[in-house]
């Protein structure tokens, strides 16, 4: 599996970098000012190659985040010789075609820029990292970087929070590099909670420079660098009734739904406030 090295001398600065690339075609076709996906890839490939050059034992794995599916497109440790990052291009093309073909069946077009399946690729990255942890006491230090631009999909909130807490427990930082004009609240929370770096580059023409200066260093050396600090992470919740952000609200003690005003009955679990519950498993209605 891993390239044959005579003796595995793993020092502090060996990294395993999981890269999650957002391949949402609706997003890339609508980004303003215009920054084509192929230009973006050329910056990213240069960045990945430079990671592989920093240390012979560094490992890079790339997962593509599509709108209908997610999949592994590159693993630098597969094969007998450490691969160059360019070899991900044919697999990425195959993935993108497959992803688009899946969407022709759904009649979901005209929705504007949909969200991509970030929760799926985060979960896959975390499973791969667990496998690396299991491989023995000597392993590279893993971290995840999300190169993301699609808007946050509210339906993924619970799954993304689960992934974030699992990453926090395994001490895996999630870095975010957000492409485009919109900030991503999910990624801000992810980077804050797991101790990663969140960045939205101002000038995409210099993307490689941002990547190489901010995200290329291994975790041990980050202690000696001044990296972008988290600014204004908003941890306020939104009420379930109006989706407004509130700073004081009411929580249902049964299902933890958030409301902005006092209500007689919880709309999510059906519990009536102020009286003891009846014996019906109301929580099951939420899953439909």
């Amino acid at each position: 599996m891993s390239p044959p090295v005579p003796s595995k001398i793993l020092t502090d600065d060996v990294s395993l970098l999981m890269v999650l690339i957002d391949s949402n075609p609706h997003f890339w076709s609508s980004i303003k000012p215009h920054f084509s996906f192929s230009k973006f890839l050329s910056h990213v490939l240069a960045f990945l190659n430079s990671i592989l050059l920093l240390n012979q034992l560094n490992q890079v794995v790339v997962i593509a985040t599509g709108i209908n599916s997610c999949g592994y497109v590159f693993d630098s440790s597969s094969g007998s010789v450490s691969q160059r990052a360019e070899s991900l291009l044919p697999k990425l093309e195959e993935f993108a075609e497959n992803d688009e073909s899946l969407s022709e069946r759904d009649d979901d077009s005209g929705n504007g820029v949909g969200s991509s399946l970030l929760s799926g690729s985060l979960s896959m990255a975390l499973c791969y990292i667990q496998r690396v942890f299991r491989s023995g006491p000597l392993h590279p230090q893993p971290r995840i970087i999300c190169l993301h631009g699609s808007p946050d999909g509210p339906g993924q909130y619970v799954a993304i929070m689960n992934s974030i807490f699992s990453a926090q427990r395994s001490m895996v930082p999630i870095d975010s590099c957000v492409i485009g004009i919109q900030h991503s609240a999910f990624l801000q929370q992810a980077s804050y909670i797991t101790g990663g770096v969140y960045l939205k580059p101002q000038q995409l023409d210099g993307l490689f420079q941002y990547l190489a200066t901010v995200f290329a260093t291994d975790l041990h050396s980050r202690n000696f660098l001044q990296l972008p600090k988290p600014v204004g992470v908003d941890f306020r919740a939104s009420c379930f009734c109006h989706k407004n952000t509130i700073d004081m609200g009411f929580i249902c003690s049964v299902c933890l739904s958030i409301f902005c005003k006092h209500q007689k009955k919880c709309s999510t679990c059906g519990s009536i406030f102020g009286q003891a519950q009846t014996r019906d498993p109301s929580a099951s209605q939420q899953r439909k």
Partner: protein, 424 residues
């Protein structure tokens, strides 16, 4: 399981013999080195198995581990059952003479304290809105060590500072104290008690049956973990109040039993009244602001959170504002409990049959890309998600259900009907 019993009996029998041979040895090491103790005490050769031809079978730890996890999952509750998410739990620790026994090394008291520390951290990780209090049973009286609170460090510090054992333990006094303390909590909270009992008897001032009925009518769920042997009164208490009674066989088993109480138990519907709890979601104060924090009463520079109602500064969340009493949380704290409300379905075992055409089998695990074939191209055991039909290896199965709570397959394929309607 059979193995464990044999080991336990064997151990006690051995010790009996040695006590006659050697005199005045405080440590159960009995003059042996640590490396010798693992052979004498754990008898690792007993877990070896032979196959049909008499050759030794390699110990398949992975399958054993997976079987244990499956057993845990089967006993765990399913999605349709309501769980008590806001819990007020008292941990009652027996510090009587029996806690000084050294069958757990170095002594029962120390082992229990260690497990309680791990439990407290895990508890607050899984139930950020809940609170824990500690009570000790010593010299026949019950004392409240720490009040109900949400900060793990203060409980652990108090516990580690008070590890002395003496006297008898009184179950009734412990229950009386906990009953009075739990009467003060709001009606939407679930009242629970976890008793770690080392003694073989209880020294009570009155009728313990009355106390048990009192606890039952106050809707307190009592669970007990015994360290010596099964006691009828403990079993009766747990049966009456709807809790769990288990007896630990050794330290790893104790750890397993204690951590079983960390996820929220199924809620008995009439026990807690549903209520709307007013909570605040404070914003993080800007860096570089100087203010006096209300928890430490000293000036702090930057950081911290501002209570939305009275604008006092607090240092960490979740907490209760000391000035106006508002519960302050952040949305990730609520999100930590969502996986209890939306658990994922257990995966199905897929047994490789000989008639399966080799190229139809999945080559690698969907989550970690590890090969599902053993060396020699024979398929090993694996699992599949009943919803998205993706295949996963056993290790990913355990990780997904115990830590991640997301199926990568279900999350990676856009479904026409969304899995959950929770939106923030």
């Amino acid at each position: 399981m059979m193995n464990r019993d044999i080991n336990g009996e064997g151990r006690k029998f051995n010790r009996g013999e040695e006590e006659e041979e050697e005199d005045e040895d405080e440590e159960s090491g009995r003059g042996r080195d640590a490396w010798e103790r693992t052979y004498a005490d754990e008898r690792s050769w007993e877990s070896l198995q032979e196959d049909e031809s008499g050759l030794l079978r390699p110990i398949d730890n992975k399958a054993l581990h997976h079987a244990q996890y499956r057993r845990r999952l089967r006993t765990a509750t399913t999605a349709g059952i309501q769980k008590g998410l806001i819990r007020y739990l008292y941990i009652v620790i027996d510090l009587s003479r029996a806690a000084g026994e050294m069958d757990y090394k170095p002594s029962r008291m120390v082992v229990v304290a260690r497990q309680v520390e791990a439990f407290i951290r895990e508890f607050f990780d899984q139930n950020p809105l809940s609170q824990i209090g500690l009570v000790t049973l010593k010299d026949g009286v019950a004392q409240c060590l720490t009040d109900l609170g949400g900060s793990p460090e203060s409980h652990i510090k108090a516990l580690m500072g008070k590890l002395e054992c003496s006297g008898d333990s009184s179950l009734q006094n412990g229950l009386d104290l906990v009953h009075d303390l739990l009467n003060q909590i709001p009606s939407y909270g679930h009242r629970e008690v976890l008793i770690l009992y080392s003694a073989l008897s209880t020294c009570d001032p009155g009728d313990i049956m009355e106390t048990i009925q009192k606890c039952k009518s106050a809707k307190i769920r009592c669970s007990i973990i015994g360290l010596s042997a099964e006691l009828y009164i403990c079993k009766y208490l747990c049966q009456e109040t709807g809790g769990l009674y288990s007896v630990a066989l050794d330290e790893p088993h104790l750890k397993e039993l204690v951590l079983e109480h960390a996820p929220p138990p199924p809620a008995i519907a009439e026990f807690a009244i549903a209520n709307l709890i007013k909570m605040g979601f404070p914003q993080r104060a800007a860096e570089g602001v100087i203010s006096i924090c209300s928890c430490h009463k000293e000036a702090k520079f930057g950081g911290g959170y501002t209570c939305p109602r009275c604008k006092a500064r607090v240092c960490e969340l979740p907490t209760e504002c000391r000035i106006c009493g508002l519960t302050l949380v952040s949305s990730p704290h609520l999100a930590r409990s969502y996986h209890h409300l939306f658990p994922i379905t257990p995966f199905d075992d897929v047994s490789p049959s000989i008639t399966n055409i080799p190229h139809k089998l999945p080559k690698s695990c969907f989550g970690c890309q590890q090969s599902l074939l053993n060396p020699g191209n024979l398929p090993g055991p694996w699992v599949a998600c009943p919803k998205c039909k993706q295949h996963f290896c056993l290790d990913c199965d355990i990780y997904i259900h115990e830590s991640l709570h997301n199926c990568p397959g279900c999350e990676s394929f856009k479904q026409s009907n969304s899995v959950t309607n929770m939106e923030v």
